[in-house]
Assembly symmetry: C2
Homo-oligomer: 338 residues x 2
């Protein structure tokens, strides 16, 4: 099984994003203003579509990471606000394109933009937001930050294409799966965290620490998200339990259950994932098999593993409120599932 | 009718892109190498999809403009090759997304990427190429060039969204239409031409001249493209005659015919464009009505008008081979239709 982890860890004391929210409250106010102004356009449909998604109530974890990471190194300018907004726009563009690619009807319990305005508008408004994200980065004027964020844009798209390749494919290994989530999710967390020290002029060592923190937090975040899809609290989840199953997504809980299953169980998974037998009875059976093989628990265990790496990445840094808030975020991400 | 133009102009002597091709041949060799390497990825589907489009035989006019514009001001580095490749990637990304948005089956007589690999891959590989385009711009290190090209990326997407708004809408005015093509087509021509003098460190006046040349060349190019759709030579055109009609696109030949038509003719246009009555008989009738009202000739006339503005934009510049090649390109674009 490779990775040995303690899955009995339980919640840590500070499994909360409250400290992160408090530290970034003033800056996030400026991010939110910038979001509204930069999502504006004389072309009416653009702010309509953009605001639908922007107002749909994500936690805005990624821009908060950028802000806190810049504060941590004493940054006093306003470049971090623009970079944080760029990060959120890149994320929003990805969501708009994802919904088209996945043919999703709902996101966070609301109808997706593509269901209201069509696939066309979702593709194009995503492109617009990506363009605006780059304009803001250019405004900041840091070629290093541009380098990190433009590379992330390519890698995210590569990860999404990789995901198409593993869709409905039960031969997908855990390594394949990790490569996908590293690219599609962790790359943006990583870039969001790294541009903080960059804009603040911190050392290469500090940049590397924040980059590693972001990457591993992103991996943990996505693993927990994938576990939640088979039994989370719908409110926390922002999507319906079983969405991944119905779309035939091969996430870690499925990979582990399939690989650990009997020949007869593997037939079940094939009919479900490869041949779309994903009704409610099938979903119930899938959840029972995951319980039998400890697949959810071990997915959470893997997430804890990456959470520990993220924690150690920050260990050498001085104990600041920002560092503590970032450590709390790790626990918060993992505790969503408990 | 507002714009008075000479539509009898006929072909000019040098209505050719041969001089442009000859001047940029060596640099285009390097652009082509860079295209192949930067469209590469370990994710197999990415180079497959990208190369399908890249090898489909466009004239690569946009990157040639960037190269010639940099040469014109004595540029000796290799930044123009990267910027030209970025411009071509931005264009390719737009085509991939356009085919999804328009639900097109064919481009330049070949099946579109979305017909072979699906809409999903077309959206995501487009995103990847856009990310790679920005990475190359960052490599060049010119914040001014980044500013121009990132702004163009936003404006192009805005233009595409605007186009959704005017689709199948016969109330579209010529001004509305010009706003759409200025954003969706002319913005990239303009940016492609302007980043040449930028990377070469030319004056603001020279930048403005090239920007104006690019904008007006792009407008002329798109107007001719729209005229060709109702009677061009399919080889030149790279698409089938009548594609715009069948998709209900409201281009200038339609706008002029509708506005100049009788009440009964306007009913025909409504049934065709708004209610999808676009069989071959309808296409024939549309072409007859365009002939009756001189709509194609006047669309070409409008293109000539913008071609003249592009010509005058370059007038103050010293007479170099690059300038002459750019002037020839104006005539080439317009003469495609004769």
């Amino acid at each position: 099984m490779g990775v040995v982890v303690n899955i009995e860890g339980g919640k840590r004391e500070n499994a909360s994003i409250e400290a992160m929210i408090a530290l970034t409250r003033a800056d996030m106010g400026r991010v939110n203003e910038l979001i509204l102004s930069r999502a504006g356009s004389d072309v009416e449909m653009i702010p309509e579509v953009a605001n639908h998604l922007i107002s749909s109530g994500g936690k805005r974890l990624r821009p908060m990471l950028t802000l806190a990471a810049a504060q941590m190194f004493g940054y006093k300018g306003d470049g971090h606000v623009k970079l944080a907004t760029s990060v959120e726009f890149m994320h929003t563009a990805t969501l708009l394109h994802d919904d088209v690619v996945d043919e999703s009807d709902l996101r966070r319990g609301k109808r997706t933009a593509r269901m209201i305005w069509g696939n066309q508008a979702s593709v194009l408004v995503g492109d617009f937001l990506l363009g605006q994200a780059f304009r803001m980065m250019v405004d900041v004027g840091s070629l290093e930050a541009l380098d990190i964020l433009s590379a992330a844009a390519s890698v995210i798209a590569e990860g999404e294409v990789m995901q198409l390749g593993v869709a409905k494919n039960l031969e997908t290994t855990e390594d394949d799966y990790l490569a996908v989530i590293k690219a599609k999710t962790a790359a943006l967390f990583s870039a969001a965290a790294e541009v903080g020290p960059i804009v603040a002029g911190a050392s290469r060592t500090d940049r590397a620490a924040l980059r590693s923190y972001g990457t591993n937090l992103g991996l943990a975040f996505q693993l927990i998200d994938d576990a939640l899809d088979y039994g989370g609290n719908a409110e926390d989840l922002g999507k319906n339990v079983g969405d991944d199953f119905r779309e035939g997504k091969v996430t870690l809980p499925v990979i582990l259950s399939y690989r650990r299953g009997t020949a007869e169980e593997r037939e079940f998974w094939k009919s479900a994932i490869e041949n779309d037998q994903t009704d409610d009875d099938s979903l119930e059976r899938a959840k029972k098999l995951m319980a039998k093989h400890g697949a959810i628990g071990d997915t959470i265990g893997r997430a804890r593993h990456f959470g520990e790496i993220a924690r150690d990445a920050l260990a050498p840094l001085p104990q600041t409120p920002q560092k503590q808030a970032m450590l709390d975020v790790i626990d918060f991400c993992i505790s969503r599932v408990n």
